[in-house]
Every structure is written in structure tokens, then in C-alpha cells.
């Protein structure tokens, strides 16, 4: 999911507390995870070398035990651009040729357009490779179910790229949703960006292929392509999925003949009556992307590299809060939910008010690689990834149906 740096600048206005006192999470290894030094080198291929594929390559560069052995994309222009971030990688245009020719590549990272995931993932699993697949997993319910079934029978690691589940800040906040906020009042999520969502076609590529997000035949729209990540956070924190979805949307800005809405509103309701309002637009950038959950004892604001807890005045104070770092956020004082702030600051690795040392994507990839090399449990299984992808697909269908 594309993050908006604007979020952090907007909301961090003043650091109130000093970094001194109790840490809020037990281990700095969550913030600065590494593969075991003795871990064998992992040969990796990245399939799909557009913007997300290149972002993945930037994060993989930070992991010494990873060797990016191959890049695969139908577009030679995208391959050429990506090669600068993985100079030793072989360049391949067909994923089946890659799987056949390179049996020593243990892990496949899939970052192609969503509707192309299924065939690549099924082939990679059949070839006995570990697979990391970007979210959403697929563009149809049928494809999601098929991928989850393939993963269930796989002997290799299959990891879905829903990054919230790997993000240390979100992991810190997730149990607090249940313990600190108590009964939930409501959930809100938004993604605001001002962009056409159009991409120029590369050499030999059709405009339709380059702009698959705007093709209603294959696109899951804003609800699926952007919203599924944020809806997954809510489902993961709650431990259950909503049972009712309604939605609406339209073209507010980009009246260029497109039919995929540039602005949407989705309402998700759980069986216990808690509801989530989700808004996304390509017509306005104010506020960027965040999620805000309200409970009877307080609220938590998730902003990908940051999260804050705001207590209600009548909520009981926990011991660790006394020493926690606080920041002024939109005229309210919030408790910063970041792991081991004190210890990291002493090591010079974290400035007061700073966020995570790495983007969420890094933590998701690291979780995948830890599962591959150290047998760690998968942070987001294909089964969970399929459920959240289907949530995005159903939300998009609700928007389309109006």
C-alpha cells in the first residue's frame, strides 16, 4: 500500500514527553529484525518489477542473507529500470521459464497486477517454491479460494502481503484494541490521495494493460487495491470479519471516461453491531491514509509508521503509561505506541517523535524470510490473506452496485 509521508508531518506537531522510562514492548528485535547470522543465503526472484516491485528490491537490499537472483516482468522497460536495484539479477520475461531454469531460487515474491497473481502463485507452489504474494491476493473470489487451497496443500511457506500484521507498531497496538479500549464504539479508515491512478504505457504495452486498475473487468477498485489492507487491520485486530457490507462511489474529479470510481464510501458491520466506515478518494489528499478506532476507554490512531493511544478521562491508568512517550496530535495528547523507544533512543537508533526504522513492507518481507529460513510461523497466511482480499472484492462489488 502506498503510504503518504504527509501523514506523519501533519500529525506530529510536538513531542511532549522525554524518552525515558519503561519500554512498551519487550524486544527491540521486533523493530530491527535480522535473519540469523548463520542463516544460509536465500536466492530470491521478484516477479513484477513496477513501482511496488522496485520498492521490494529496496527493502531486500537491507538483508545481507538475501540474494536477488532474478527479476521477471513482461515489460523490458520495467526490467531495465529495476535492474539498477538488483544489478546481479538475471532478467526474465516469462515466469514459467524462470521457475524451470532456476531450481536454486528458493523464494518467489509476486508483485504483478492483482489479476495476474493466481497463475504465478500456483505455478510457483507447484514448483516447490516459497511464495510471498502482494495484497490483495487476487481480483476474484474464485481466484482467492483457489490460491488459499493451493497454499493449504503446499509444503513451502506461503505468505500474503498484508503489512499491518507484520508492522511492529500495529502489533503493539493490536492487543490494546481489546484490552485498553474495551468495548468498541466505531472504526474509521481512510486513504486520500490526489492522483489520476493512470500510468503511461511502456514500450510494447497497451494502455489497457498499463492501466489495469481502471479496467472494471479486472480491477478491484479503491476498495480492493487500497482498502483491503486497511480493512484487514480491522479484521485482524478484532479477530473476526464483518458480516455486512454496503458501499457507494462515483467520479468526483477524473471525468476522463473511466467507470472505476475515484471516490468511495464503504460501511462494514460485524455481528456484534460494531461498524467501520471506510473512505477512499483520488480527488483529495487531505489526511493521507490512517485508521482510527474508538472504544469506551479511548481511541487508537494507526498511521502505518506511527500509532497513538488517546485515553478517555475516566479510563483507568496503566502503570506503563506513566513513563510512556507522549505527543500532541491534532490538539490531543496521545501515547506513542512504539516498541522499546527508550532502549532504541539510548542506542541512537530512534529520535524522539520518530517512527519505525523501516517501512511496513520491510517487516512483511522479513517475516516471510524468517518463516523460510528459521521456520517461524507465517505472519499472514494465504487463508487470512484470501479472506481480507475477498472483503475488498465484496466491498468493491457493493460500491459498483451502489
Amino acid at each position: 500500500m502506498a503510504r503518504t509521508p504527509h501523514d506523519r508531518r501533519t500529525f506530529i506537531t510536538r513531542t511532549v514527553g522525554a524518552l525515558g522510562g519503561l519500554a512498551l514492548l519487550p524486544s527491540p528485535s521486533l523493530l530491527l529484525p535480522r535473519l540469523l547470522a548463520q542463516a544460509k543465503s536465500v536466492r530470491v526472484a521478484v516477479i513484477g518489477t513496477g513501482r511496488q516491485g522496485r520498492a521490494i528490491l529496496t527493502e531486500l537490499q537491507k538483508i545481507p542473507q538475501v540474494e536477488v537472483a532474478a527479476l521477471c516482468d513482461r515489460s523490458t522497460a520495467r526490467l531495465d529500470n529495476a535492474r539498477a536495484r538488483a544489478p546481479k539479477a538475471a532478467l526474465v520475461q516469462d515466469h514459467r521459464a524462470l521457475l524451470e531454469a532456476s531450481p536454486d531460487i528458493a523464494a518467489i515474491i509476486v508483485a504483478t497486477p492483482t489479476h495476474l497473481h493466481r497463475a504465478i502463485v500456483e505455478d510457483a507452489i507447484a514448483a516447490g517454491r516459497h511464495v510471498f504474494c502482494e495484497s490483495p491476493l487476487a481480483a476474484t473470489v474464485e481466484d482467492c479460494d483457489a490460491m488459499a487451497a493451493a497454499a493449504a496443500s503446499a509444503k513451502t511457506v506461503c505468505h500474503a502481503g498484508f503489512q499491518g500484521r507484520s508492522n511492529p507498531t500495529y502489533r503493539r497496538a493490536q492487543p490494546l484494541v481489546r484490552s485498553e479500549l474495551r468495548d468498541l464504539v466505531s472504526w474509521f479508515g481512510q486513504s486520500h490521495r490526489k492522483t489520476t491512478w493512470r500510468f503511461p504505457a511502456g514500450e510494447g504495452e497497451t494502455d489497457q494493460a498499463a492501466n489495469w486498475r481502471l479496467d472494471p473487468a479486472v480491477s478491484t477498485g479503491l476498495a480492493g487495491e487500497v482498502g483491503a489492507q486497511q480493512m484487514d487491520v480491522a479484521a485482524w485486530c478484532r479477530g473476526s470479519y464483518p458480516s455486512r457490507i454496503s458501499g457507494r462511489g462515483g467520479i468526483r474529479l477524473h471525468k476522463d471516461g473511466r467507470t472505476v470510481a475515484d471516490t468511495i464510501e464503504v460501511d462494514l458491520t460485524w455481528d456484534d453491531g460494531v461498524s467501520m466506515r471506510y473512505e477512499a478518494t483520488l480527488a483529495n489528499s487531505h489526511g493521507g491514509a490512517f485508521e482510527l478506532v474508538h472504544g469506551i476507554n479511548g481511541s487508537i490512531r494507526f498511521a502505518w509508521t506511527h500509532a497513538w493511544l488517546f485515553k478517555e478521562a475516566d479510563a483507568p491508568t496503566q502503570g506503563w503509561e506513566v513513563y510512556a512517550t507522549r505527543q500532541q496530535v491534532l490538539d490531543q495528547e496521545g501515547i506513542v505506541l512504539i516498541a522499546n523507544a527508550t532502549q532504541l533512543a539510548e542506542q541512537g537508533q530512534l529520535q524522539a517523535g520518530a517512527g519505525l526504522p523501516h517501512p511496513s513492507l520491510y517487516y512483511a518481507l522479513m517475516d516471510f524470510l524468517k518463516s523460510v529460513t528459521e521456520g517461524e510461523p507465517v505472519a499472514c497466511s494465504f487463508q487470512d490473506g484470501a479472506r481480507s482480499s475477498i472483503l475488498g472484492i465484496r466491498a468493491n462489488q457493493a460500491v459498483m452496485a451502489g
Binding site: L57, Q61, R85, A86, P87, T196, R198, P200, T305
Partner: protein, 258 residues
């Protein structure tokens, strides 16, 4: 960087539709945003912050996009006798291995700041992206202090750049006509909160970081915005053009000497 970038593309008949050019423009500005995210030292999750946390402990491999940037920054440090220094006074503690393309710091007091070259680098990448998509005439600028003039505007043979007076921003002190050239302006103007009240510091001072004694204003033009950006900073510090100033580049000190 943390500044505003602007882009103007000239629509030629031979080029794609306006909608497609707008998509190209957005791609270019996303490219600039991606470089900001990689090169800023103010975001803890940037690539540069990762380097600053890591390179004193172990070599950090640089890819083919970043290696030329760091190599050129070190070359300008050397050629300017340390007047330009991405290591903020510790340029001699940077070790860049050309065989492995790995960077390491000789001690843990080193911290990179690419603020005086990153904007130019992002502009060079933006221009490359424009060319890849068939754009030959455009103007792209960042923070109004660095830019690239590609080709010519619709109504002339070159892009006309006005340099405002330091005493009166509404007054144009100098005018430059540029075509297929990059430019950067460095001005050791006042900046509240910066050391000595200036935003460019001379890291060669041995008794801590001190501001320059004499404020200066320099314009550098040449093929690469990365180098015009770096050299304009170096020349503000030096106050003169050194013998190692690169061929193909021009420098002008603008009437602020005193």
C-alpha cells in the same frame, strides 16, 4: 529535500495525448517522492536512515542507482577540499569500495546528509523518466533553487530563469536563458535556528560547526543537476572556483559579496 517540485511539459503534436502526458507527469513526481523517501535523513524509515544506523558496523551495499550519487558526492568533497561534505565534517571517514559498491563509515560519529545533492539527484532522475516516455521539452524545478531545462519552451529557444534580488524578492536581479541545462542556486541567506543563523555551514571549521563569515550567492549551470546542486553549495563555502571545478559547468557569483 522536503520541498515543492513543479513540472511543466510542452505538448507537441507528435507526443501522446494530454491525459497520457499527465500520467507521465504524475509518474515523474512519484519518482521524486520515492527519492525523497529514500534520501531524507528526517524520516526514520528512509534508506538513508538505515545507512546511518548501519554503515559504522558493517559495509552497506549500494545499488546502481545510489552508487553513482555517493561516488559523485565523495568526488565533490575531494575536489572542493571538503567544502561540500555529505558526512558533515567527516568526509574522510567514508570508504566506498568500487569493487563491491559497498559503503562503510570508519567510526560511528559519521552521519550522512544528502540535502545539498539529493534534490539535484531527484531532478536528474525526473528528467530521465521524462525522456524514457518521449518527452523532450519540459521544465522541472525543486524548491525554486534547482531545476532542469529540457529543450525549449513553445515560444522561444530557451527557458528564461529570473533570479530574484536577495533584498527584494519581487525584483529580478539576474536573468538566465537555459536550454538542455541544469541549474542550482545556493544562497547563504539567513535561516533562524540554523548554526550562526545560516543554512549552509562550513564543515572544515575545526572548532565545531560554524557558519560562513561572508554571505554569498552562487549560480551553477551544467549538464547534471546533481553536480550543479553539490557545487553551488561548495562554491558558497569556498567563495571562489577551485581548479578542480568540472569541465562543462559554469559558476556565477551574484552581487551579494560584502
Amino acid at each position: 529535500m522536503g520541498t515543492r517540485f513543479e513540472l511543466a511539459i510542452v505538448i507537441d503534436e507528435a507526443q501522446p495525448s494530454e491525459a497520457q502526458l499527465r500520467a507521465v507527469g504524475e509518474l515523474v513526481l512519484r519518482e521524486v517522492g520515492d527519492w525523497h523517501q529514500r534520501l531524507t535523513r528526517f524520516e526514520s524509515d528512509s534508506w538513508l536512515s538505515h545507512v546511518n544506523r548501519t554503515a559504522a558496523d558493517e559495509p552497506v551495499p549500494l545499488d546502481d542507482e545510489v552508487y553513482p550519487l555517493i561516488a559523485e558526492a565523495i568526488a565533490v568533497w575531494r575536489d572542493s577540499n571538503g567544502a561540500f561534505d555529505i558526512a558533515r565534517g567527516h568526509g574522510a571517514a567514508l570508504v566506498l569500495d568500487p569493487d563491491t559498491q559497498a559503503l562503510r563509515f570508519l567510526h560511528d560519529r559519521v552521519s550522512l546528509d544528502l540535502g545539498a545533492i539529493g534534490k539535484g539527484h531527484a531532478l536528474d532522475c525526473a528528467a530521465q523518466c521524462l525522456r524514457q516516455h518521449g518527452v523532450t521539452r519540459a521544465f522541472v524545478q525543486g524548491g525554486t533553487s534547482s531545476g532542469i531545462a529540457m529543450g525549449a519552451p513553445p515560444d522561444g529557444r530557451s527557458w528564461r530563469i529570473g533570479l530574484s534580488s536577495s533584498s527584494d524578492p519581487s525584483d529580478i536581479a539576474e536573468v538566465f536563458d537555459l536550454a538542455d541545462l541544469s541549474f542550482s542556486v545556493s544562497d547563504d541567506g539567513s535561516q533562524p535556528g540554523a548554526p550562526g543563523g545560516r543554512h549552509i555551514v562550513d564543515h572544515r571549521q575545526t572548532s565545531g560547526v560554524r557558519a560562513l563569515q561572508a554571505p554569498r550567492r552562487v549560480v551553477v549551470t551544467g549538464p547534471s543537476a546533481r553536480l550543479t546542486d553539490a557545487w553551488s553549495t561548495a562554491l558558497v563555502v569556498l567563495g571562489e572556483v577551485p581548479p578542480a571545478f568540472p569541465d562543462g559547468y559554469a559558476a556565477l557569483f551574484v552581487g551579494k559579496e560584502r
